[in-house]
Symmetry: C2
């Protein structure tokens, strides 16, 4: 069956991805662009979406389901949050329809943790969680990124989660501190680099020394001639090792640890799990978000 | 006795301070400017120093002792490092004379820790350590700054130390990450702010959550309306609390904890010690560096 049935969109801060799908969740066409929330906020969300829908020749009758920052306050239409403990099916039933559009366009809400001491929010990851459910009922899900999430999931319920600013702190430190004099580009190394592996282990064991350990990227250069690629691998490993020290502490040890990632982050985090001798299963993040959007489409458009 | 006897200079990365001193270490004149290493490297170190010496009418016979980044490789004349375990008197005996200057000008070396896993360097702090020795033979010295140092000192010997990038990480995170949308200026709060005190305690107890806790400056704004001043106080407290978690772990618990700081950092760190219920003694950092330079002058110029 290759008749288009719906359109799925993952609309992040800096990226836009669209899939034209049939009723059996096969991908009929795909679009990727840099027109994330930031760009779309000035061009107009409706305009950006229409142009991509036209390119894939989506008829006016096809409904669209969207996850991600398009539902933020600064996005297209605010889709709010479901609070933890959050049933993933409640995320679906709280989708918001974009008003004044003839086409049926729904935006999924995010999830919020309204704790006094550990307030946190996610937008987009809830859809990946929906799309990565396996047979384990207790999951601790690691979702690397600009703001990595570690999420405790019990069956259909997100019980708690924590964001770690790993990707963004790497950028800020490597570009806007003294470490910039010691650093090669982030793409100069991979997870097999010995400096990355040693740093993951070191930071996991000594997270209290984080702001000291990062300085050794510079002092290692001054005293031991640490090369720029090793310094970048070391900084990345220190941030990821610290993230693991924190992330692993948020769920019980009997949970299945799941890594939801793709591309370079997938291989880096797989190497970090291996360096720490931790069991885990990987799920491709692109597939997870598409699966999640497909679940949403089934529930929102085809449940009757 | 008010006859000028020598000139003491603390020459940092971004600041220059000069004192005209008599033989009893009284200050006869003082100069402060922003002509630190960065500026002086382009203007010429000799030119900068001469102009200030002229202003305080220092005769050509007066010797000059200098500590700080003027002795770095990118500085005036490289003064190298004394390695840990480093006797502070060895710092004095390793002073380097600036060649091709008629005047007797000496630059003090820094201290290096050539450890494989914890390489570290200091330049300038060794002189403060020399000038802050009290009656305690075992000291753990906290020296806040752009790159805070925590230093273990046993009598006259620096046994080990760690730099924490507290000040520089605060700047990078508050200006170059998503946190910038949540932040007031760094001078908008002081150590009595409840958000600062709570954050110091929280991070000291949970250093593994550092890259998560900083995100709560933003998520707290989204979910609880955390105001910009509280967010800045919180970020500062989180960085200082993490620094304490690491710094306090590097020395035995029977060491006297000494805080060497001045100005805003002195009051912030005093508040952090109080928030954590820790005993400490404070020494003014300006006085400490002048005392240290005075010791150096005695040893280098007047020992005969």
């Amino acid at each position: 069956m290759n008749e288009p049935a719906y359109v799925a969109v993952d609309w992040g801060t800096s990226s836009f991805r669209l899939w034209l799908m049939d009723r059996d969740d096969h991908v009929l066409a795909e679009r990727r662009s840099g027109e994330g929330m930031t760009t779309a906020a000035s061009m107009g969300f409706g305009t950006v979406l229409s142009s991509h829908l036209q390119t894939v020749q989506a008829s006016a009758a096809l409904p669209v389901v969207i996850c991600g920052m398009a539902g933020a306050r600064q996005g297209w239409v605010e889709a709010g949050y479901v609070d933890v403990p959050a049933r993933l099916s409640t995320v679906l039933s709280n989708a918001v329809r974009v008003p004044a559009e003839e086409r049926d366009i729904r935006i999924l809400p995010g999830i919020a943790q309204r704790s006094d001491t550990m307030p946190d929010v996610m937008r987009g990851e809830e859809t990946q969680l929906l799309g990565s459910a396996g047979i384990a009922s207790q999951r601790l899900v690691c979702m690397p990124g600009t703001h990595s999430k570690w999420v405790g999931v019990n069956g259909d319920i997100v019980t708690s989660f924590s964001s770690f600013m790993t990707g963004e702190v790497f950028d800020a430190l490597s570009k806007h501190t003294i470490l910039k004099h010691a650093m090669a580009e982030a793409d100069s190394f991979d997870g097999s680099h010995p400096a990355f592996i040693a740093a993951v282990r070191h930071a996991r064991e000594n997270p209290a020394m984080f702001t000291n350990l990062i300085f050794t990227c510079r002092s290692g250069q001054l005293l031991h001639g640490l090369d720029a690629t090793s310094a970048a691998a070391r900084l990345s490993g220190l941030l990821i090792g610290t993230e693991f020290a924190g992330g692993l502490s948020i769920a019980g040890t009997d949970a299945t640890v799941q890594l939801v990632a793709s591309g370079k982050l997938l291989t880096l985090y797989e190497a970090a799990f291996a360096a720490l001798d931790l069991d885990f299963e990987s799920v491709d993040a692109d597939l997870a978000v598409r699966n999640g959007l497909a679940s949403a489409a089934r529930s929102l458009f085809f449940a009757h």
